[in-house]
Symmetry: C2
Subunit: 574 residues, 2 copies
C-alpha cells in the first residue's frame, strides 16, 4: 500500500477535524440574519462511501501491467476509494457532486511514482497507449483542473505525486532550493526551516497543496507582497513531457525568447508532469509581525492599501476586509478570546465618539518581515499612511489570531453544506483605478443573481496581494439552498460575479487558475489570439490530448482529436 | 518624406557625434598596452555610401500599391538609403558587414505606419502576399534580430514604428501608462516626466531604442534592481497579428494559464508587430542618488553586491567593475575632471597604506531612489555592507559622471573599428553561487580564443542587475585586427565566451535577446523540449514564416516552409 495521506474523500481537510459553532456564540444569529439559515437545526447525516455508485475501472491489463512495471504493483491502485479520492478537487461544485453521487467519469487507475524517472516512464507509456494522464498533487484545486472529461472514452490514469516529497538540496549561496513537486506546504517549510530557510509561500490551501500544484495553477500566497507570486518564486523547472524531460535551469533572469518557464506556470498538467522545482528561498527573518488595523470604511481601507503599495514601505502582507467580512470575522470570534478584545465595548465607544459608523468598520492586517530596525521603520511608515486615511492601529492580538486561523477557512464550507447552505469564493485582480468599480459591480451582480434564483444571499470581500499597479479582490459568497438543482443556482451566482470581474477590468482569476470553472471567460480576458497562442503551446506538446485534456481552453476552442487507434469492436460506427 | 530620425547608417548614434581620445590623455597608452593598438595612427577614411553595391528592390507593384494604400505613398520607401538603414541592427557583426559592403539581402521596401490600424492592415497584406515582415524600432539591436535571411526569396518589408511615438494616456491612480511601441527612450521619459512620472527603464541603448524593441528583446535597464526588467514593467500589450490584434489588458497579476504576455516578451517580431504597451510607471522620486565605491578586489565587490541583494536594503542600481574595467574607466577620464579626483595621488596613497593592491581596485556604483529618509537609510545599510567587505565610499562625483556618460559607450566601437580594432559585448546571468565560476571561465575562454587567433586581446567585466538569487555579468572584449576575415576571428572569441556562459550555469543572454547571434545556444540553455515549445508558439501564429523568420530558433529547428504560392516563372525547378 502507498502511504500518502489525503484529505477526506468527501470534503476539506483532515479526518476528524471540522468546523463547529458551539464556542462562537455570535455566529448562529449572524448566519440566521445573513442567509436565513438556522445553525441549530440538525445537520444532514454525513455521506456514506458505500452509497456511491462507482463506475468500474476501464484500465486494461496491458496498461496496468506496464504501469506496475514502472511503479510496482503496490503503488498501482484500482480500488474505488483511491479512484474517488483522485476524481475531483475541492471546489464547491466538486463537493456537491460527490454528495449527490454525481461521478460520471472517475480515474481508472491511480499510480504513485517514486521519482522523475518513474514519472517520465509513466508519461511515455500513457501517451503510447493513447490513454489520459491527470497529475495530482494535494487535490486542493477549486477550479475543476483535476477531473476527467465526463465523456472521456480513453483510460484515465491519475498520477499522484505524493511520494515526490523531498527537499533535494539548497544552494545556500544563491538562496535556491531544489524541491520535488509533490511536496506539501508544511513539509516544504519544515525541511527548509530546519536549515534556517523559508519559501514564504502561504496560500490558504497551504496545509493540503503541493509545490507542483502551485506552479501548475499560478498560486499566490498571503505574503506575496514580499516574496512574490509563485511565478516570481520559481526559478528552475523539470517537467516530464512525452518522450523527454524539459529542463529549465535556475536563473535569476534571462532573455531566451518567449518564456518557456512562464508556459509551464499555469499549465495545469497539460504540458506534462512537473517533477521538480527550483525555488527562491529566504533566510528566516529576524522578526515577523502581523498587526491589525481598523478603517472607518472600505474606501479608506482601499486608499490606504494603495498608498502603501506606492510608498517606500515594503510590507509582506496588505489585507483589508470590507464591512461585511469584518462583521463575519467578529461573529466567528470565540468567547472572551482574540478578536473579542477588539470589539470590546470600550474601543467601540471610542470609535463612535470619533464619529465612526460601526456598521462600516473594516478590519485590516498588515505584515512586516526583516531585521528589527527594518520592521520598526516599516511599521511607522505604514502607521503614518493608515492614520492619514483615518484608520487606527489595533495591535498584535488580531494579527496573531489571523496568523493562526488563516488555513481553517475552507472547513466552513463543509459545515455549511451539511446544513443546506452553499458557500464559495471568486477572486480577481485589477488596476487600482478599477478596484472600486470591480467591487461595486461584483457585489451588485451577486445580489441580482440572488434575486433571480430567489434566495437571501451574502457576499463579502477582502483586498489582498498588493502590487504597484493594482491588487487582488477576494469575494466569498453564500446562500441557503432549498431547490432541486443547487449547482444550477450556484452557477447563476458564480457566473454573475465572474462576468462582473471581466466586464470591469479585472481578470478571471488572480491565483486560482482557469481549470474548467473559468474557461468560459478566457477569451474575454486574453482575447481570441491569446487563446489561439495557448492552444498552439498545448498542441505542440500534446497533439493527441492525452495530458489532462479539457482544462484551460473552453471546449469550443478545442475539438476532440481524431482517435489515433482503431476504435474497439462494438464502439465502431455502423 | 517621413520625418523619423535614425542613427548613422554605418554606426552608432547621431551624425556628427563621435568618440574621441584627445581630451583623455591616459587612453592611448592604455589601449597600446592592452591590445597593441596605436591610437595616434591615422584612422581609416569613413565609409562612402556610394561605394556600397545595393541590391535592387524586389517589391512588386501590386504589393507596393497595397502598402501605399495603407500608409500613403509618402511613407512607402524603396530608395537605397532607407533600405540600408533598415537592413541591420548595430552589432559589431552588423557594422563590420556594412563596412565590407556585405549586404546580400536588404529590405525591399520600408513603410512607416501611423497607428495600430495601419500596422494591422500591413500585417494582413504582407501575410496575404506571402511576403516577409520585419518590425523596426530604434535599430539598436545587437543580436541579429533585424536582418532578412540571406537567402530570403520573398519580398521583405521593413515596418518602421517611428511614427507611433506617443504617450496615449496615464492611469494616474494605478501608475499605468499606455505608450505607443515606437516611442524612443528619451521621448518616453520626456512625455512622462512633464507630468511627474518616470518609467525607470534605462538600458545602455536608451537614447536610440524603443519601448516595442525593449519588449521584443526582453530588455533590462540599469535601475532594474528597483523598477524591474522590462518583463516586470510591462502590464498590458497590443500586438497586430495576422488577421487580428492580440489584446492583453493591463493587470497587476493573473492566473490565466500559460502566460501569453510572456510569449510576446522576447518574441522579436515573430508573433506580429507590437503596437502599444501599457507599462508600470512611478512618481519621480524625491531623491535620486548614485554613489561610487571602491573595493580592494573583485571577490570583495561580488560578495558585497550579493549581501546587499539579500539584505533589507533596496537600492536601484548595484554595479561593480572588475579590476580591468576599473582601469579602463580610469583611462577614459578627462584631464582634471570627474574620475581624476578619484585616482588622485592622495586617495591612492591612503589605499596603499591600507594594504590595497592598486592593480586590483574595483569601482562600484550603487543607486538610491525614494523619499529622503528612505535614501538616507538605504545609504547607511549599504555602507555597512560595503565596509564589512573591505570597501570604501568614494562619494557622489563618480556616480554623477557615470550617470552622465552611461549612454556614450557604444560610440567607442566605431572609434575602434576606424582604427582596426574589434570591440563587442556579451552578457549573461547566473545564480550567485556560479558567478565567480562563470567569470573565471569566460575570461579564460576569451584569452584562449585570443591565443588561437593569434592576437593580443582584452576582456573586462562588470556585475549589474542584482536579484535575490543571482546577477548579470556583462563582458566587454576587444582585439586589434589585421587578418583577412575579421568576423571569423570575432566568432572564435564571441563563441568561446558564450559557450563558457552556458557550460557554467549562465544563460545565453540576460537582456540582449537570442536573435541569430545566440540561437546556437538556445537548446543548451532551455533544453530540446523548450525549443520545441517556442517553435509551437511561433507556428501557431505564423505557419508560413512571414514574420521575421530566422530569429530565436536555430536554423536546424526550423526548416523553411513549403511555398504557399507557385514559384514565379524562371524560379521553378526543371
Amino acid at each position: 500500500m502507498t502511504s500518502v495521506k489525503h484529505m477526506k474523500w468527501w470534503g476539506w481537510g483532515v479526518e476528524g477535524v471540522s468546523f463547529h459553532h458551539e464556542d462562537k456564540p455570535n455566529l448562529a444569529p449572524f448566519v440566521l440574519k445573513a442567509v436565513d439559515l438556522d445553525l441549530h437545526q440538525p445537520p444532514k447525516p454525513p455521506l456514506a462511501f458505500d452509497d456511491l455508485s462507482i463506475p468500474d475501472s476501464r484500465a486494461d491489463e496491458d496498461l496496468l501491467s506496464q504501469l506496475s512495471e514502472v511503479v510496482g504493483a503496490e503503488h498501482t491502485h484500482t480500488d474505488p476509494m483511491e479512484r474517488i479520492i483522485h476524481t475531483y478537487g475541492k471546489s464547491l461544485r466538486d463537493l456537491v457532486r460527490l454528495r449527490n453521487g454525481d461521478i460520471p467519469r472517475i480515474p481508472d487507475v491511480v499510480v504513485y511514482p517514486l521519482d522523475e524517472d518513474e514519472v517520465q516512464a509513466i508519461v511515455n507509456r500513457v501517451v503510447a497507449a493513447d490513454a489520459v494522464l491527470i497529475p495530482f498533487g494535494g487535490g486542493s484545486n477549486i477550479s475543476g483542473s483535476l477531473e476527467p472529461r465526463p465523456a472521456e472514452s480513453r483510460v484515465v490514469v491519475s498520477v499522484d505525486l505524493g511520494r515526490l516529497n523531498r527537499l533535494i538540496e539548497i544552494d545556500e549561496e544563491s538562496g535556491l532550493a531544489r524541491i520535488q513537486a509533490g511536496t506539501l506546504g508544511p513539509d516544504i517549510e519544515e525541511q527548509l526551516g530546519s536549515r534556517g530557510w523559508t519559501l514564504g509561500h502561504f496560500p490558504d490551501s497551504f496545509t493540503h497543496s503541493t509545490l507542483g500544484g502551485w506552479v501548475a495553477t499560478r498560486s499566490s500566497g498571503m505574503q506575496s507582497d514580499k516574496y512574490g507570486d509563485i511565478a516570481d518564486i520559481v526559478k528552475g523547472l523539470r517537467v516530464a513531457m512525452p518522450g523527454e524531460t524539459l529542463v529549465i535551469r535556475p536563473l535569476p533572469s534571462t532573455s531566451t525568447g518567449p518564456s518557456v518557464r512562464e508556459m509551464i506556470l499555469g499549465s495545469e498538467g497539460r504540458l506534462g508532469v512537473i517533477t521538480e522545482v527550483t525555488v527562491q528561498v529566504h533566510r528566516i527573518p529576524e522578526q515577523r509581525l502581523v498587526l491589525g488595523y481598523f478603517f472607518p470604511n472600505w474606501e479608506a481601507g482601499l486608499k490606504a492599501m494603495h498608498e502603501i503599495s506606492v510608498s517606500d514601505a515594503t510590507p509582506s502582507i496588505t489585507r483589508v476586509s470590507d464591512a461585511r467580512e469584518t462583521a463575519f470575522s467578529f461573529a466567528t470570534r470565540k468567547k472572551s478570546k482574540g478578536l473579542s478584545s477588539l470589539v470590546s465595548k470600550g474601543l467601540m465607544k471610542v470609535l463612535e465618539r470619533k464619529g465612526w459608523d460601526l456598521e462600516q468598520v473594516c478590519l485590516s492586517f498588515i505584515g512586516f518581515e526583516g531585521g528589527k530596525s527594518h520592521v520598526s521603520r516599516q511599521k511607522s511608515l505604514v502607521k503614518e499612511i493608515v492614520t492619514r486615511n483615518g484608520g487606527i492601529v489595533v495591535g498584535k492580538g488580531p494579527g496573531q489570531l489571523y496568523d493562526q486561523k488563516k488555513f481553517d477557512t475552507p472547513y466552513i464550507r463543509d459545515f455549511l453544506l451539511d446544513r443546506g447552505a452553499m458557500a464559495d469564493v471568486s477572486e480577481t485582480a485589477a488596476p487600482w483605478s478599477k478596484l472600486q468599480q470591480v467591487y461595486d459591480n461584483a457585489v451588485t451582480a451577486a445580489n441580482k443573481a440572488y434575486d433571480k434564483i430567489g434566495v437571501k444571499g451574502w457576499v463579502m470581500c477582502h483586498l489582498s496581494h498588493s502590487y504597484h499597479s493594482g491588487a487582488c479582490l477576494y469575494f466569498t459568497f453564500a446562500f441557503r439552498h432549498e431547490g432541486i438543482d443547487p449547482l444550477a443556482d450556484y452557477d447563476v451566482v458564480k457566473s454573475a460575479i465572474q462576468q462582473a470581474f471581466v466586464d470591469n477590468g479585472g481578470t478571471l482569476s488572480h491565483h486560482h487558475a482557469v481549470g474548467t470553472e473559468h474557461a468560459a471567460w478566457l477569451e474575454q480576458d486574453i482575447s481570441a489570439p491569446g487563446v489561439h497562442l495557448i492552444k498552439g503551446v498545448l498542441n505542440a506538446i500534446d497533439p493527441g490530448q492525452n495530458l489532462n485534456p479539457g482544462k484551460i481552453l473552453p471546449p469550443s476552442a478545442e475539438p476532440a482529436p481524431a482517435p489515433r487507434h482503431e476504435p474497439a469492436e462494438g464502439l465502431s460506427a455502423h
